[in-house]
């Protein structure tokens, strides 16, 4: 039996449902090409801001338990102008590249969306959910249904590309936030960003270890929260969902798709399994489908919602 792994995501065709999540690796076209060669279905750039940002001081990424990472990168990126140069020619890129954009307010988000037009991004992801960068995401007040609606519609007016909105697991009324994004013209929801923030203190020096003191939680520990969030969002909206949070194995991906995700984001998983994680997760999804009698991965999307 040949198993079909390709999925459709807001008009994009992905050869498989694995996507490199934003913030991990995506500093240059070349490293994204390596991720593509490693088997990903799509890749996301590091978030692009208008001006260059150095980000927070180190450490920006630490492990708190075997299954828990905390990060506070602080959106380091060389800015819009450099991003336009870095990604100016994506015509030969084998899979869709998703441009992650982040601004301080609706106007800045819209400016970014308008100004990356010449880049060959196949979709835009706007991030309304960072828990650890002053002025942005949750610390910029972007986590409410109102702000989500305002920012999403401002970006919608400036771009015809598929528009993904990345949400935070911190919000209890996540269904409402997702609905606000959908109503304002979003084509898909990316759920979730990191949780928290959390903190780790070194007891020898009594100092928080992360440079920014606090950071968003990722890794396998985030998975059950992400799972519930995707489940809630699937109930609330009709647009597809990219499920992100603790995806390490094909079984994790299957579970996330059963919760309602059409595709899965992989980030911290690269730590546990290296860049081959994309191919390995796909192989494991395929094995699962085969052993459970499914011929097409699309058939498991939202299965957990059946009565």
């Amino acid at each position: 039996m040949s198993i079909k792994l390709d999925v459709e995501l807001a008009g994009l065709r992905l050869r498989n449902p694995t996507i490199l999540a934003s913030g991990i690796l995506g500093i240059s076209k070349k490293i994204l090409e390596r991720v593509a060669k490693s088997g990903a279905g799509a890749v996301t750039t590091k978030s692009i801001t208008v001006k260059p940002r150095g980000g927070h001081n180190n450490p920006i990424f630490i492990q708190s338990t075997k299954e828990t990472f905390l990060n506070a990168v602080g959106y380091s990126n060389p800015g819009l102008k450099a991003a336009k140069k870095e990604f100016e020619d994506l015509s030969d890129f084998p899979i869709p590249v998703i441009g992650s954009l982040v601004g301080e307010d609706a106007e800045e988000f819209a400016y970014l969306a308008e100004n990356i037009k010449e880049i060959g991004f196949k979709a835009i992801e706007i991030v309304l959910s960072c828990p650890h960068t002053p002025g942005y995401g949750l610390l910029g007040g972007h986590g409410t249904p109102e702000a989500t609606k305002e920012i999403t519609s401002a970006v919608r007016k400036k771009t015809k590309l598929p528009l993904f909105v990345k949400l935070s697991p911190n919000v209890m009324n996540l269904g409402e936030v997702a609905k606000a994004a959908e109503k304002a013209g979003a084509d898909a929801i990316t759920a979730v960003n990191t949780l928290g923030p959390g903190m780790v203190i070194d007891v020898e020096t009594a100092k928080p270890i992360l440079g920014f003191k606090v950071g968003g939680l990722s890794g396998p520990a985030l998975k059950p929260i992400a799972m519930r969030c995707v489940y809630d969002i699937y109930k609330a909206v009709k647009i597809p969902i990219i499920g992100v949070g603790g995806i390490i194995t094909g079984k994790d991906a299957v579970e996330m798709m059963m919760a309602g995700a059409s595709a899965v984001g992989i980030g911290t998983g690269v730590y546990y399994r290296g860049m081959n994680i994309f191919k390995e997760v796909c192989d494991e999804i395929e094995e699962f489908l085969e052993s459970h009698g499914y011929s097409n991965v699309k058939k498991i999307i939202g299965l957990a919602h059946r009565d």
Binding site: I24, L25, K30, E33, G55, F61, V73, G79, I209, Y271
Partner: protein, 256 residues
């Protein structure tokens, strides 16, 4: 676990006017060229090559504000250490040559200690006599040391790359190991290619996570922290950004 282990500084040795070695009460096992992330609690964290493994020691030269702060640390002060990370130098053959520029001598001195059973020639380059350090340490393990300074205040006046060329005209090495300014390493690699000699170089980029996730230290599609920092001739020949540009803290390209 990817988290700094906080260690007390056991002793401090002054190597020259801007370089010190800090020793800790800890043993590690490392390949020469592997690095540690060193955290000044509450300040910042940067990569340093392993200088000694038993007891663990790092050698710090003054470069910017972080190393200036680090050099103020005294016996009894605490630093966070994580690692060792990355892939180090690999021993190849029986006759090898080291080409060190400035602080590049740190991992190469450790290499000489680890590879002491083979014949080692070391070319040590520095700006002036005062910038030299570890020459005595190298003398224990190398049968020949060629000191080269920009101003001729010690050894030969000139560049280490010229000395390497002179050597390769007359003799053959199984492998040339280099660490130092990237422009120098690029030249060393080019010379080695011309003389059909294997080369291993330890590259440096602005580093953040140290374990291959953040992408900050990429050169082409290679992560210096995880896939490097040491690369052989075959790998170096594929790097189009080698000797061309690095990236700053934001990821912006800075050309050499």
């Amino acid at each position: 676990m990817e988290i700094p282990e906080v260690l007390e500084i056991k002793s401090v040795i002054k190597e020259n006017y801007k370089t010190k070695t800090f020793f800790f009460n800890k043993k590690i096992e490392a390949e020469p060229g592997q690095f540690l992330m060193v955290w000044i609690p509450g300040i910042d964290e940067k990569p340093f090559a392993v200088s000694f493994e038993n007891p663990l020691g790092i050698t710090v030269g003054r470069v910017g504000s972080f190393t200036t702060q680090l050099l103020k640390m005294k016996k009894g002060d605490k630093l966070g250490i994580r690692g060792p990370y990355g892939n180090g130098f690999k021993l190849k053959g029986k006759e090898i040559c080291l080409v060190a520029g400035g602080r590049g001598i740190i991992p190469l001195a450790f290499l000489a200690e680890k590879f002491k059973k083979v014949d080692i020639t070391a070319i040590v380059g520095a700006n002036t006599k005062d910038d030299l350090f570890f020459v005595k340490r190298l003398k224990k393990y190398c049968f020949r040391i060629i000191v080269v300074t920009d101003d001729g205040s010690s050894g030969i006046k000139g560049f280490p790359t010229d000395s390497l060329k002179d050597l390769l005209e007359k003799e053959k090495f199984d492998c040339v190991y280099t660490c130092g300014p990237e422009i120098m390493m690029k030249k060393v690699f080019d010379i080695c290619e011309n003389y059909n000699t294997e080369c291993q170089a330890s590259l440096e980029r602005y580093m953040k996570c140290g374990f291959g996730l953040c992408g900050q230290c990429c050169i082409d599609d290679i992560r210096i922290c995880k896939d490097g920092p040491v690369f052989n001739s075959k790998q170096l020949s594929k790097l189009t950004e080698f000797g061309v540009f690095e990236r700053d803290k934001s990821g912006k390209k800075v050309y050499f």
